[in-house]
């Protein structure tokens, strides 16, 4: 066993001190849960606030001579409208391959007051692939800088805004619109903050220097509303929120339309194309895709996990579960998967094969738990 090869985030020591159950994830030794356990951490996030170390994710910066140049360079890899992204705004998109399959999904932020700059956050498991793609595809006048010295801490839940406002009382952080981004000072500490996340709750993602991360995390945990949350609850939260996880709902064979992400392809790009896989994406938009991502509710209490076969009411194989587990806020087992488009109406009866037996289930609308994004 080669322990020396595993990577540590800037908060590793804190996780161990807090008694986290650690396990490898995307090459990093990460906290799966702390002493409360996954169920309690999940419920804590929805009731109050949770702090997540997401420093394993890939942060990077693109710098070009002006916004249009940098934006158009990125648009050669993704189907979103980056040109039209206003300063201080953030957008969700995907890198696509020539067949229209998803290489990764990511957040793109146009920081205010830095013309020509775009900040990217990509999945930990894909960052090597993403950065190689960018290096090869970017024009000479747009430079990629990996931000390996940056930590990323998410604070999610209904109490997140008031906790952060308490820590940055001069900042008006609580008034940030959803999917906006700006620099915020917490006392002497300069950070970049976006109002977004991966839980379905109101929340913020805070990028800060690695050397400051542990002290800042301890400061957050001092606030009574905040508890540390591990990757186990991060997964159950995003599953209930109906959000895709790369390697499960997204991979290089799946296009954004069948994944239910057409909303992230703005109108100009749908019409103009000029992103990889335009033909497949445009066809899926006009004719409808052959299969679609759906939510699935099981009728019993046994969970179904990723890889479980989905069969129709008449017993034919019609798809596969891509994520499945128990939803603590829903109080029942839930799953997501892809099924033939004819079977995607909510209420459609299905069965999921678990330990060789068909378990009755139905297509359910997403999200399983309502989103509570800040719409103030």
């Amino acid at each position: 066993m080669s322990e020396s090869a595993i990577l540590l985030t800037p908060l590793h020591r804190l996780h161990v001190e807090l008694g986290a159950r650690m396990a490898p994830f995307a090459g990093y030794d990460m906290p799966i849960h702390y002493s409360s356990g996954i169920l309690a951490e999940h419920l804590q996030t929805r009731a109050s606030a949770g702090m997540f170390d997401v420093s394993h994710m890939g942060q990077a910066r693109l710098d070009g001579p002006d916004h249009a140049t940098t934006a158009l360079a990125l648009e050669r890899l993704c189907p979103a409208d980056i040109l039209g992204l206003a300063p201080g705004r953030q957008r969700y998109t995907q890198f696509l391959n020539a067949e229209g399959g998803v290489i990764d999904d990511l957040m793109v932020t146009r920081p205010p007051g830095a013309d020509g700059r775009l900040n990217l956050v990509v999945n930990a498991s894909r960052k090597a692939v993403d950065f190689a793609l960018l290096e090869q595809a970017l024009p000479a006048d747009v430079r990629l800088t990996r931000l390996d010295e940056a930590a990323l801490i998410a604070v999610q839940g209904p109490a997140a805004a008031r906790v952060l406002a308490r820590l940055a009382p001069e900042s008006d952080i609580a008034a940030m619109p959803f999917m906006s981004a700006r620099p915020i000072r917490f006392a002497a500490l300069a950070t970049q903050v976006s109002r977004s996340g991966y839980t379905g709750e109101d929340g913020f993602e805070i990028s800060l220097p690695a050397g400051e991360a542990e002290a800042f995390a301890r400061r957050l945990l001092d606030e009574s509303e905040v508890e540390p949350i591990g990757l186990g609850a991060r997964d159950s939260l995003r599953l209930e929120a109906g959000l895709c996880l790369y390697g499960h709902e997204l991979d290089e064979t799946i296009d954004p339309v069948e994944a239910g992400l057409a909303w992230s392809i703005q109108k100009r790009r749908r019409v103009e194309g000029r992103f990889p896989g335009t033909a497949r994406v445009q066809r899926a938009l006009t004719e409808g895709p052959a299969r679609r991502r759906v939510g699935i509710r099981l009728e019993g209490r046994a969970p179904a996990r990723e890889g479980a076969d989905i069969v129709s009411a008449s017993g034919e194989p019609v798809g596969r579960v891509t994520s499945g587990g128990f939803g603590p806020s829903v109080g029942a087992p839930i799953a997501m998967g892809y099924v033939a488009s004819a079977l995607t109406a909510p209420g459609t009866p299905l069965a999921l094969t678990v330990r060789g037996k068909p378990l009755a289930a139905r297509v359910a609308p997403l999200p399983f738990h309502p989103h509570a994004y800040h719409r103030g």
């Binding site: 799966i32 849960h33 309690a40 969970p303 128990f326 087992p333 330990r355």
Partner: protein, 125 residues
Amino acid sequence: MSEIRFTKDHEYVRIDGDVGTVGISDHAQQQLGDVVFVELPALGAKFDQGAGAAVVESVKAASDVFAPVSGVVVAVNSEVDAEPALINQDALGRGWIMKIKLADPKELETLMNQSDYDAFLTTLA
């Protein structure tokens, strides 16, 4: 005081005459995390020692419960069916899973007693 024996897979069997009450140990429930579902065997099901007899599902994963002894299932715990969290709260007591009528009491000699199991736990990572 009825005898209790443990397997290396962290099942226990508590003996009363020729019937053993089977569950998972407190160590096992801690490792698993919050239990959300238990798949119980059918009454009358026969298992050889070491065969998969039940499944405990936590939030993250499914875990097999192997029969610590050969025999026939004579009871299953409807309480853990209704309230799987009992396994976390009281694994050795109200969180029992099934009762097996022993086919061969000599199999108990292959299992660990309480102090051997406690020692075994200290050897685990």
